[in-house]
Amino acid sequence: MPGMTLWIAFALLTVAAALAVLVPLARGRRGHAPAAAHDAEVYRAQLDEIERDLDRGLVSEEAATAARTEIARRLLAASREAEASGAADAATGTKDKADAAASLPGSPARRGASGLLQVAVVIAIPAAALFTYLALGSPDLADQPLSARLEDTQQNRSMAALVAKVEQHLADNPNDGRGWDVLAPVYMRLGRTGDAVVAYRNAIRLVGSDERRETDLGEALVILAEGIVTAEARAAFDRAVALDPKAVKPRFFLALALGQENRKDEAITAWKALLAEAKGGEAWVEAVRMEMAKLGAEVPPSPALPGPDREAMAAAAEMSASDRAEMIRGMVDQLDTRLSAEGGTAEEWMRLMRALAVMGDGPRLREVKDRALVALKDDPVAQAKLRGLAEELGIGS
């Protein structure tokens, strides 16, 4: 019981404090030399010193004599005073003795004064200490050294603790690029964008530049600049595009940058190029259309095909819950049929799987996954993506 130990420790300290006052108070009176006796002692030391100086020839004979005379005079005065006060002391001592004889040792009157003081000490010291401590202290809070907290499994689950752990590891091994690479997106999710920028930079410096890291770094910088694509962010996106000219995200931000710099025509061209590559249904398409509208460009109609069209969505919003489920089921079936018959991209298969997961149709989800894996067996990248999604949806392997 750590709480108990704490109070025992307090008790021991308190006893020590009280004893430091009690013991000298309780112990019998010891006589002490009067102050003048100390003076005499100092003068005697000074006389010795003169002799030593004289022996070593540091002072002349006549200087020594003069000094000796003066100190001796003071010594005499001090000794006389010491004797006088000693005598006075002895007189009071005799009086004490008389007192002591009159009132026997241990008599209430004699014990009274010092006894009262002792009782006061015994009560007052612990009481005052306890009173003050209870007002200020936190007796129920245990020590929490950081290393112990990081090992503690209870705390381990919290994201902050994990981050702290990785941070500690990185503090010791600042050149562990993989560590920075793992930490950076976590920082982003925690909203610690500034730290994320540093982490991405370190990861790029240590592990190497690739499209994803450069893009993420750029994105973090944009968030840090509250939506402005700064020169530094642009440079990151440029590097990303140089590494992978097909990458959408960096080009998206580059187009955004053009818009922000008021290079309207170039921006619109860039947006158009992006839209032309869209298969439809991508999250960014809508954003692109909005940006184009902001620039005053003619927004091309949303590409036909996959995904429910606007009217269908609007209709769904007005339906009752069961009707809506029915409609979604119909659309899912439609997609499934099409994919089974004509085949499709990994993204389309994944859309289907997500929809099934949302509907909570586990068995069918597994079955679709297997079919998708078969359908895309020649495409290892697609296979990996599907397996990743399966993992995410809790139907891995």
């Binding site: 102050a35 100390h38 004889a101 200490a129 020590d143």
Partner: protein, 658 residues
């Protein structure tokens, strides 16, 4: 648990200090032996408790216990271990705890080693020390409690002010505090003497070693702080007449005066009243320094927190102790017997002159430091009193002091012979003149003031050397006996000589580094060079380096003399990531006693940088001189003459009669 034990121990110390303030003083006044006997064990116990408390806080810092508010505010898990420890006193609460620790340490030392101090004096002294301790423990617990807890505890701390993450911080404040706070014990001695109404030979004997101890540490602390500012702030300056620096200089000046007047009191029984007053003033100035630094009246590196409550509290402590002790002085000082007459030209006379000049210079610093503050309070006008003021006031006061310095130790007590003394200083005078002429010839006659300053430094050194050599009497007794005599001289004699030599050495450093420094501020690109004095610095470019909790932009310089590479240095511009705070890490290379100093300013995109380069001739002498002074203090402290025996009790206590 450890944290809470530390907290509780601090509270117990507070309560014991209250007991200590009352019982022993009462006992000393009424002659009650039992009450007086309480003082030594309680002093020891208070030191133990504050020590436990300090250890507990240190433990919390070492293990990054972020359930302690103070640790959260001033530490960070990524901080190097050494700075986690120094972080304990790198903040307001922790540094006040250190303050109190040293306060009770001095009480405990007097309790342990003061057996030969008269009983009443010791009890009253420890009692007054208890009062000071009580005031500061109360201040600590009420306004600056370092043991406040947080629940739930955050996972990370806020880091320590980067400028304070430095080895200098590990040493500077503890040294300075031992000095500052050490004067509390001389204050307690003085107040005790006033309470008891007697200043006797034993008082004079036992005050001096404690003054010496505090003075030594204060000297080292000031020197350390000055060197730290020199290499950390990146301006190449070592003394800024900053109020915080002045706050440590004032007690040093009056403490030095006290050291000297205590000699007169000890040897001749004169200057009693004055010495008591100096002891009070010195600690009052220490308290004033604490108030200036802690209250946030001044905004600088040293003001950790600006909190009106704390400022008011310290002002209260200041008023009570300074006002109280001065009132006590006014009331009791007339009781003190004067003694020891002397002629104006005598050792005593010289020491009085010393005291006069040191005190007036302390007043000059006091005015220069507080006048702007007072003006701001009264009229709201903000003025700054800079180096010009101090150069005009403090400087001229130091010159006669330095000129007179070699005469003092050579003069005889009571009646001195100035002419005879002058004769023994001919050699020193010759050396000083030669040095002046040499410097004037080397540096040009237009630098005559600097040359004179240099000569003054040599005069002080040679004068002190002449004094110690004349004591050995080589001329009369021959070389071997003379050497034996020299070694056999008492520690106090060597201490005095080294103390004076140290001052001379520091003066040389100050004059040379101020008058003959070469400074250049240039923008430099990789491959380019800059020349200061006979040093050519070639810039090798900048590189980025990552430290545990900072990022460095490190510049590389090769230093060439006459075309030959003799050294290299890597000054840096450092960014502490947790607080996003930049610092400069100057590159300093020492050649003999001189230094080349490089610091990096703005960094340009093309790899170039703005840099400041200095050549500072003999600059290290400034701090070496302080070391010599402190060493002299140590020699004097361990002088075997200090071991005066304690008298035996007047008589054995008799057992109660029948």
């Amino acid at each position: 648990m450890i944290v809470e034990i530390g907290h509780y121990a601090l509270i117990l110390a507070l309560i014991l200090s209250l007991v200590q303030s009352v019982l022993p003083v009462w006992g000393a006044v009424t002659g009650n032996d039992r009450m007086m006997a309480v003082a030594p064990p309680v002093s020891g116990m208070m030191f133990l408790f504050v020590g436990i408390s300090f250890a507990a806080l240190t433990m919390a810092y070492a293990t990054s216990d972020f359930s302690v508010l103070n640790v959260v505010e001033n530490s960070h898990s990524a901080k190097p271990f050494l700075y986690k420890l120094t972080g304990v006193w790198g903040n307001h609460e922790g540094s006040m705890l250190l303050w109190v620790l040293i306060l009770v340490l001095f009480g405990a030392l007097v309790a342990a080693f003061g057996r030969n101090i008269p009983t009443e004096l010791r009890a009253a002294t420890l009692g007054v020390q208890g009062m000071v301790s009580f005031a500061f423990l109360l201040f600590l617990l009420v306004t600056s409690n370092p043991f406040l807890r947080l629940s739930p505890a955050p996972m990370e701390g806020n880091d320590l002010n980067p400028i304070l993450q430095d080895v200098g911080l590990a040493i500077h404040p503890p040294l300075l505090y031992v000095g500052y706070v050490g004067f509390s014990i001389t204050f307690s001695f003085a107040a005790a003497a006033l309470i008891l109404g007697r200043v006797d030979a034993a008082w004079a004997r036992w005050v001096r070693p404690w003054t010496l101890l505090a003075w030594m540490f204060l000297t080292l602390g000031i020197a350390m702080g000055s060197y730290w500012a020199y290499y950390e702030l990146g301006w190449g300056g070592y003394w800024f007449w900053d109020p915080v620096e002045n706050a440590s200089l004032m007690p040093w000046l009056s403490g030095t005066a006290l050291l000297h007047s205590a000699i007169v009191l000890e040897k001749r029984g004169a200057l009693k009243v004055w010495t008591v007053l100096l002891a009070i003033l010195t600690f009052s100035l220490s308290l004033l320094g604490t108030f200036l630094v802690r209250s946030g009246v001044l905004t600088s590196v040293h003001a950790f927190a600006t909190d009106p409550m704390r400022g008011t509290f310290i002002l209260g402590i200041l008023t009570i102790f300074v006002g109280g002790s001065l009132a006590l002085y006014a009331w009791r000082a007339p009781l003190l017997k004067q003694g020891g007459l002397f002629a104006p030209v005598s050792r005593e006379g010289a020491l009085v002159l010393n005291n006069l000049l040191l005190t007036v210079s302390a007043v000059a610093v006091f005015v220069g430091t507080l006048y702007p503050l007072a003006l701001e309070v009264v009229g709201g006008e903000k003025i700054s009193v800079g180096p010009p003021f101090f150069n005009l006031t403090f400087g001229p006061l130091m010159v006669p002091l330095l000129i007179a310095m070699p005469f003092g130790p050579l003069l005889a007590w009571k009646r001195g012979d100035l002419y005879a003394v002058s004769q023994r200083l001919y050699a020193a005078l010759g050396l000083a003149l030669a040095a002046t002429l040499l410097v004037a010839w080397l540096q040009g006659v237009d630098r005559i003031l600097a040359a004179l300053g240099f000569g003054l430094g040599i005069w002080v050194i040679a004068g002190a050397a002449a004094e110690i050599l004349s004591r050995a009497r080589f001329a009369q007794v021959g070389l071997s006996t003379g050497l034996r005599r020299l070694v056999g001289l008492p520690g106090a004699a060597w201490g005095a000589a080294l103390g004076h030599i140290g001052i001379g050495v520091t003066v040389l450093g100050l004059v040379a580094a101020t008058a003959f420094q070469v400074e250049k501020v240039v923008t430099i690109r990789p491959g380019e060079s800059v020349t200061v004095a006979d040093n050519t610095l070639t810039f090798g470019g900048l590189a980025r380096r990552t430290g545990p909790n900072y990022i460095d932009d490190v510049g590389h310089f090769d230093i060439l003399k006459g075309g030959v590479k003799v050294a290299e240095t890597d000054p840096a511009k450092r960014l502490y990531t947790a607080r996003k705070m930049p610092t400069t890490e100057a590159g300093i290379v020492t050649f003999g006693f001189s230094q080349v100093y490089v610091s990096i300013g703005e960094v340009h995109d093309d790899g170039g940088a703005d840099i400041r380069v200095y050549h500072k001739p003999l600059v290290t002498l400034i701090w070496l001189g302080c070391l010599v002074m402190a060493f002299g203090g140590a020699l004097s402290l361990f002088d075997r003459r200090l071991r005066v025996g304690a008298p035996k009790p007047a008589r054995q206590r008799m057992v109660p009669a029948e």
